[in-house]
Symmetry: C2
Subunit: 293 residues, 2 copies
């Protein structure tokens, strides 16, 4: 059985009906039906507090640093000076927290569709939602697709920190949305999107890349090990009109970085773009080639 | 509940009692109590046939290429000419299969403690156990620790393809064993050992590295994404008396490689040694430094 089960005290998430990942639950901290989804935060036995939307793990305190460092720092250390950053989704605050560590970032607009996620995380995931205390952040509770279509503001980096493409995040994987995002990026801008699993979500990734390809001259995929998503090996897509994630990576800026990171470093940045052979081959016709490091 | 459950048709493996990974089981193909462990091979719904020893996933047809390519090709593309290779454990044959793809390998000795594992895999995992048909391979059914202590043969590469350090594999994580292995390596030899998870098995990894450090002048850790082991991010240890896994990597030889691999390539080889910051920092005093790629 899926979902949080009071009797067994295990939360289990299914991946394509043949594979699952489970966490022992000590206590349910929050549970509500929002207008968009079921939002739960549970205290796990081994992974800290964990946000679960519609039965799918979004973030757990113990390892959220992996996902949030990789979605935020890769584009920000490639863009020469990202002053304005748009985050779509990411209502837990973790992505914005990492973005706001960059002193060159003057303004972050975070567009989350579900106010209940923000409220729950502000109360029970303070190490992520700390981002909302930063005066550089503006929180907009709105549909990201509609926001992207109508906003007149322009951004240097756009990060789509979405859940899976079912339920409220469905439109975030659509070509119309990528067209809007391409339009609201300033010259030299970068788009990074949550791109699911290269092992389990091949059809979805192919559709996503084909859609992004229409609007971006450069398209890459980079990988990281997500410990609390099924299968471990997960991906982000990196799209730009020219900036290269390896050639334009500002390693000297990273070397001067004052604060410790927990997952990201210069080696990890470059290594993330070295795709395993089955991934590289599958997308060789869609993604831009990169030299082997 | 752990183990293969006929009623629910799910096999679940626990990691440290608070985290589990589960696979839908279509059918049990083989189940026996060997003198050493419970050996099962099940047909999963999504991952092909899967070998399970004492309730722990060893290998699944769908993704075994990741583990076996990474344990075998990393040392073999660093060693300039590995003629003799010793594999300890690996009774499914997958590691030996990858080793035997190298034309310079004249002889492989595979020492597996449990004949039941070999018999079961020969019948139900033929894509792995194909290695046993190669005339260059000698299969020895024996305790790897005792074999390493007494053999007079010398090897260029030793691969310890072990299960977790409980049950029959316990001695494979012991310092006495590493002393034996250091002694039976020829000059310029390389030892690679299965090194568990850098996220979940930190105390074990520290003990393993400290034990190997006594006998090897160079010690490194490299990572890969194991899709069917809990947590996804898993590790191998690389030990030598001087060969460096980056500087001595024979990329031109890989470029001439005739057959397609599915995970390993030159970029993946180098990327595997780029440790996430939390791993790099923890082992900075034990492991040798490597330049960032």
């Amino acid at each position: 059985m899926e979902g949080v089960q009071p009797a067994s005290k295990w939360f289990r998430e299914r991946q394509q009906d043949d594979f699952e990942i489970g966490f022992r639950v000590a206590k349910t901290l929050f549970a509500a039906e929002s207008p968009y989804q079921r939002v739960e935060i549970v205290q796990t036995a081994g992974h800290g507090a964990m946000l679960i939307n519609d039965g799918v793990v979004m973030a757990a305190e113990r390892d959220e640093f992996v996902y949030h460092e990789m979605i935020a720092h890769v584009p920000l250390f490639v863009h020469p000076r990202a002053a304005r950053v748009l985050v779509i989704g990411g209502g837990d605050g973790g992505t914005a927290r990492e973005v706001l560590k960059h002193p060159e970032v003057a303004r972050v607009v975070l567009v989350e569709i579900d106010a209940v996620v923000v409220q729950a995380c502000r109360r029970f995931l303070p190490s992520l939602s700390v981002a909302f205390e930063d005066p550089r952040l503006e929180l907009v509770i709105a549909d990201g697709v509609a926001f992207a279509a109508r906003t007149t503001e322009r951004f240097d980096v756009v990060i789509v920190d979405s859940s899976d493409p079912v339920g409220p995040a469905e439109g975030l994987f659509d070509r119309t949305f990528y067209g809007s995002l391409a339009r609201l990026l300033r010259d030299g801008g970068i788009l990074v999107t949550q791109a699911e699993s290269p092992f389990y979500d091949q059809a979805l990734q192919t559709a996503m890349f084909n859609a992004q390809r229409e609007f971006f001259r450069r398209l890459h995929l980079y990988l990281y090990s997500n410990l609390t998503y099924p299968g471990g090996l997960w991906a982000f897509a990196f799209a730009s009109q020219g900036l290269c994630p390896l050639r334009d990576f500002d390693a000297p800026r990273f070397a001067r970085w004052p604060a410790a990171m927990r997952y990201y470093n210069a080696g990890v940045h470059r290594a993330a773009f070295m795709l395993p052979e089955f991934v590289r081959k599958r997308y060789a016709a869609i993604l831009d080639p990169l030299p082997s490091i």
